[in-house]
């Protein structure tokens, strides 16, 4: 890549050709203010705040969308630029409700930060906030169109990153509105509840349905509150307390939950190991007995929803195994309840998830009640748990590390890597090797399926057998693989893959829609590193070696994919319409 020499406010900077001015300025230590720009997305150039000057030209240009040009000197800050930025900001704020106190983004709002930086103390223009109803139609997300600043991030996320096309602009001019396509409700649209819109929204226009009150109600009741935490939560929640992304806080979360008053602390990683036993056995069964291939992972509820809407012909390919969260809930109210002699009716099963779609998953169909009661009663996102911990006055950073409760709290390294793209595949291979060859895999690190590439394709050797695998993350990267499978099927050819892992969010659950704000590729990389380090630190790396997993099969489930396991841990899928309106 050619190097371009430019200047930022007169200071020489060298950057690669094709670098945007915004990024070049960052390299020179200058932060140009932005509102609509997000490093995950193509520049949309809507807000008009990142304008800069090119020395010698009267026109202001957008730093987010303009490539640097050799020899140019960019002025990023001067009184005139600041004045224009301020006016633009005042215009935006004049159309935004001044309801910071009861806003989901209070304190973590990008518009609020800009207003603070620009010392906005009054808004000179009449308020243009419209009286529009809130869309609370899904179980996962709330859309408050009054707060929308029309930055376009959510639309781009939904269309380009996720290929869902649930969100679109309608109307023109002042009437422009971001909405579920065609003005439908979110629940009537193709929305898969992944929540990436809420993770990217700079303000509080789209946010997770807050259920912290329900949680506190459970704690205050007679219920036996059993909480599980997902793999990705442990490497992200610390960010809400000033810790670095990727710092492993598993023990602190356990401790915090106990201080919040829960009765039992479990780990979804245990159920991830359980998932591997079930899903891995299912894969081995399909491969060795001529079942329908490829097998496709079903852990991600957003992906499952997407598949049911856009690729329902893939239903026979879907692993029937429930997601780890649902399995954890199922064994909490059966195995654990029996073992501890607790009436499952009195258990409140709560899951802390990096994900908004998980709020939808617990009631996605009638298979989610293995014990006769809801497998999971309540899902809180990482963000919600963070707020609960803060409001309880818990000094999270200085908490001692505690351990999860037995008999469904221990996990192997394989369980923890479910939190990153490629992790389910890697964990499955570790165990499949044992199931197919009878021998333990020599190197548990399956690097072929690691990394941030959109699609990872590889071949894994299991003794004499070769397993062709594909891993995709970011919903928009799935279509090509699915079409490849379809084409082979239509042509009567061998399936191109044996096993496909899909996670809806770019990077996997570590960058889920319910994670702390500020996710970008840098944060993704740090959280991913945290997950792999958690795996490496684990004494047991393979799911089938997890002593509590061995125990549950011995004491309760029998064999993987046994009749009982099927009753409790497996589910069905159904075709769903894109629009229900």
């Amino acid at each position: 890549m050619a190097i371009v020499n430019i200047k930022i406010n007169g200071l020489p900077v060298e950057v690669e050709e094709g670098t945007k001015i915004l990024k070049a300025a960052k390299k020179a230590g200058v932060n140009i203010p932005v509102l609509c720009e997000h490093s995950d997305l193509e520049p949309w150039a809507a807000c008009g705040i990142c304008i800069v000057k090119v020395e010698g030209s009267p026109k202001l240009i957008r730093a987010c969308a303009t490539d640097v040009v050799e020899g140019q000197n960019y002025i990023t800050h001067d009184p005139e630029l600041q004045e224009v930025r301020r006016t633009v900001l005042e215009l935006i704020i004049s159309n935004h409700p001044l309801e910071c106190l009861n806003c989901a983004r209070n304190g973590v709002c990008e518009l609020q930060n800009l207003a603070e930086d620009f010392c906005i103390r009054e808004v000179p223009f009449e308020s243009g906030v419209k009286d529009l109803p809130r869309d609370e139609s899904t179980t996962s997300l709330v859309f408050d169109p009054r707060k929308c600043v029309n930055c376009g991030r959510c639309v781009q996320v939904c269309q380009q990153l996720q290929d869902v096309w649930a969100l679109e602009f309608i109307g023109r001019g002042d009437e422009t509105l971001m909405t579920a396509a065609g003005g439908a409700l979110m629940s009537e649209s193709p929305c898969i509840k992944c929540g990436q819109c809420s993770a990217h929204c700079p303000v509080g226009a789209i946010y997770e349905k807050d259920e912290t009150k329900e949680f506190l109600k459970m704690i205050g009741s007679d219920k036996h509150v059993a909480v599980q935490i997902a793999p990705a939560v442990r490497v992200a929640i610390g960010e809400m307390f000033g810790m670095e992304p990727g710092e492993i806080t598993t023990g602190k979360i356990y401790a915090a939950l106990r201080r919040l008053g829960v009765d039992a602390v479990f780990d979804t990683n245990f159920a991830a190991d359980l998932t591997i036993m079930e899903e891995g056995s299912e894969l081995v069964e399909r491969v060795t007995k001529g079942g329908i291939l490829p097998q496709i992972t079903s852990c991600c509820p957003a992906w499952t929803d997407y598949m049911e809407k856009y690729f329902s012909d893939m239903i026979p390919h879907f692993s029937t195994a429930k997601s780890p969260m649902m399995m954890q809930g199922a064994v909490t109210k059966t195995y654990y309840a029996e073992k501890m002699n607790i009436d499952p009716a009195t258990i409140a099963s709560v899951a802390i998830m990096p994900c908004t779609a998980k709020k939808y998953e617990i009631s996605r169909d009638d298979n989610m009640q293995a014990s006769g009661y809801n497998d999971v009663d309540l899902v809180l996102t990482t963000r919600e748990l963070g707020r609960l911990i803060k409001s309880a006055g818990i000094d999270f950073v200085n908490l001692p590390d505690e351990k999860a409760d037995s008999p469904i709290g221990a996990y192997a390294g394989a369980g923890t890597i479910f939190g990153v793209t490629g992790g389910v595949m890697e964990a499955a291979v570790r165990t499949a090797h044992k199931l197919v060859t009878g021998e333990e895999i020599k190197d548990v690190n399956i690097t072929a399926v690691r990394g941030a590439e959109n699609v990872k394709v590889g071949e894994v050797t299991l003794g004499d057998a070769k397993l062709k695998v594909a891993v995709a993350h970011g919903m928009a990267n799935v279509r090509d693989i699915m079409n490849e499978v379809r084409a082979a099927k239509a042509a009567g050819q061998e399936p191109p893959y044996h096993f496909i892992e899909v996670m809806a969010c770019k990077g996997g659950c570590i960058a889920g829609g319910g994670q702390p704000y500020g996710t970008n590729d840098v944060v993704r990389a740090k959280r991913t590193a945290g997950i792999y380090s958690d795996d490496e630190k684990s004494v047991v790396r393979c799911s089938h070696q997890n002593p509590e997993i061995i125990q549950i099969y011995k004491d309760y489930l029998g064999e993987p994919c046994s009749h009982k396991a099927h009753d409790l841990l497996h589910t069905k899928y159904q075709e769903r319409p894109l629009y229900t309106k």
């Binding site: 602009f169 023109r172 009437e175």
Partner: protein, 596 residues
């Protein structure tokens, strides 16, 4: 047998809507009745431009110019003029000063005009390719395909001609074509922007209606020059007649082997399709237009990359507007130097304006660049309606600015207009008189921009709305002094921080009227006065007690019953209830009602 007379009937949208087609049919019927069907050729042409006086019928060779013709007049035109060679006096155009009938070549409206773009409008039947060919149509394309012209020499002609894009910004056409020509790509496109959207502007519509082949020919030449085999004409669905005529022209060109595969037996192929727009103003912005052709929501994207390098479906695309294209065939047949000799040094050629507003002769006028506004308004346009006083001209549509009396003698071209705070735009020219309130007119333009902003970028989306709200405040007598500064601040933010040309210029009407007419704004705010009397909220109807005889006529006419008073005693108006409809003012025979 040779045809003795030609009767040309205007078939432009304006005349068509006032029974142009019926006139055409009535003329045919009369000619048949008089048994002279073969002696006379009755042709439905494109727009004559003199829309103020439409429908227009012209008889050749007598140069009779009949205005405001009705279908009932057809019989007289045939019986008198065609059969007997006599002028039908009641239909003939009368000169405003001499009041006498004048033949078409002596009409002042046309005398200072110079028709290059509209060369065939009002002259040929746009639905007959042969008439276009007879006027040297497709000659330039033929020259390209027979080797007389090469892509390089086409570019050279355009360069010499100095033709600048007529869509608004005035970018040199040869440069645009050259960019596209020099990019290597497996596919390139030629796009015609016929999404004319300025209020009151209809230059492009008339060209499409009156001379569709000139556009088709030019697009094929563009394809030949840059190496594109596909073209799209993006036209708003609100232009049904233009679409119909373009479709007919495309079909005829295909049949004649002038469009499609292997044109005129050469290895050059060019296919053309029409894409209909839904009428969003922003789709006249080229990147939004391309998005719309691709089936996406019409919203601009940042430039660069420019469409000439990365355009439709990511491929290099030449995109020009109708008027630019219409100039090209004639530049290539007559030579770039010929074109350069017309107009000004910086802006050669002519410009078509849609002259509307408070003007005697509204219509389409084409003048050489460098013509003064005075010539256009007073000579061609016949001056201000009803002898009122000239106030200003708005050029460049909702993106332009006002030109005041002091600039009436400025020669108009791209650069002078910009230097006096307006812009060429696509050629809308709205004339205002002393009866127009400048704040109210500005509010009208802003209203247009509020509705037509695509909504993508915040300076334009919110800025237009806030400005409109402030103007609404001022025109309703609630303005405050700091509103002026607010307008200026928003204007600056819009101008500098909006993404596309529409947003960057949407504040121009406000900024330019503030520059030249700030006193009128201040009158509204400080004195609660609208000198033009058009801001109703600032007006008060009052009864002059001394003059009122208590006849009660006003009270009976008042639709809201706000006039009270005993019979034969002076009446009074309850101001709180008055809706300022003016009914009392009209009804009073004693001048006892005044407006203040």
């Amino acid at each position: 047998m040779a045809v003795k007379n030609f009767v040309l009937v205007c078939g432009g949208t304006a005349c068509e809507s006032t029974k142009g087609d019926e006139i055409f049919k009535a003329l045919l019927k009369s000619a048949t009745k008089h048994g002279i069907k073969d002696d006379v050729q009755i042709i439905k042409t494109g727009c004559f431009g003199f829309c103020e006086k439409g429908p227009i019928v012209k008889v050749l060779p007598e140069e009779e110019f009949y205005v405001e013709v009705t279908p009932e007049d057809a019989e007289d035109i045939i019986a008198e003029t065609v059969v007997k060679g006599r002028t039908v006096e009641r239909l003939a155009y009368k000169d405003a000063s001499t009041k006498g009938s004048v033949s078409s070549e002596k009409i002042k409206f046309y005398q200072k005009q110079y028709r290059v773009v509209l060369r065939n409008c009002g002259l040929i039947n746009p639905e007959d390719i042969n008439e276009y060919i007879a006027r040297d149509g497709y000659l330039a394309l033929e020259k390209c395909l027979t080797g007389e012209l090469t892509p390089d020499s086409v570019i050279e002609h355009l360069k010499v001609s100095g033709l600048r894009g007529r869509g608004g910004a005035g970018f040199p056409t040869w440069l645009k074509w050259n960019f596209s020509k020099n990019v290597t790509a497996d596919q390139k496109y030629v796009v015609c922007n016929a999404d004319e959207g300025d209020p009151g502007a209809y230059m492009d519509r008339s060209t499409c209606e009156g001379d569709p082949h000139s556009i088709i020919e030019a697009m094929a030449i563009a394809g030949f020059t840059c190496g594109a085999d596909t073209g799209y004409i993006y036209i708003r669905a609100e232009y049904p007649l233009a679409i119909e005529r373009l479709n007919i022209a495309i079909e005829q060109a295909k049949e004649a082997g002038l469009l499609g595969d292997n044109i005129l037996g050469s290895d050059f192929s060019f296919n053309l399709e029409i894409r209909l727009g839904a009428g969003a103003f922003v789709c006249g912005e080229e990147t939004a237009l391309l998005a719309s052709i691709e089936g996406k929501r019409g919203m601009p994207i940042p430039k660069p990359p420019f469409p000439a390098v990365k355009g439709l479906w990511g491929k290099p695309s030449i995109i020009n507007n109708v008027e630019t294209f219409a100039n090209i065939p004639v530049i290539l047949t007559k030579g770039g130097a010929w074109f350069k000799s017309i107009g000004t040094a910086g802006s050669p050629g002519t410009k078509v304006f849609a002259l509307t507003g408070q003007i005697e002769n509204s219509g389409l006028v084409e003048v050489p660049m460098g013509t003064t506004l005075r010539d256009i308004v007073f000579d061609i346009g016949g001056g201000i309606k009803n002898g009122r006083k000239f106030k200003a001209v708005q050029t460049g549509g909702p993106s332009g600015g006002v030109i005041t009396e002091q600039f009436l003698d400025t020669p108009i071209d791209f650069d002078t207009l910009t230097s006096i705070g307006s812009m060429m735009g696509s050629g809308g020219m709205i004339v205002m008189s002393e009866d127009d309130c400048i704040v109210d007119v500005t509010k009208f333009y802003l209203e247009f921009c509020v509705e037509e902003s695509c909504g993508k970028c915040s300076p334009c989306r919110i800025g237009t709305k806030k400005m409109h709200e402030i103007l609404e405040k001022i025109t309703s007598g609630k303005g405050e002094m700091d509103d002026i500064q607010k307008l200026k601040d928003i204007g600056k933010a819009m101008k500098t921080a909006s993404l596309c040309g529409l947003g960057q210029t949407a504040a121009n009407p406000v900024l330019s009227t503030l520059k030249y007419f700030e006193d009128e704004y201040l009158e509204h705010i400080q004195d609660g006065k609208c000198r033009a009397g058009s801001c109703k909220d600032l007006m008060q109807y009052k009864v002059v007690t001394e003059k009122c005889i208590g006849c009660t006529v006003c009270a009976r006419k008042c639709p809201v019953n706000c006039i009270e008073g005993e019979r034969k005693a002076p009446h009074f108006i309850v101001q709180e209830k008055c809706v300022k409809c003016g009914a009392c003012y009209e009804a009073c025979k004693f001048d006892a009602i005044t407006i203040s």
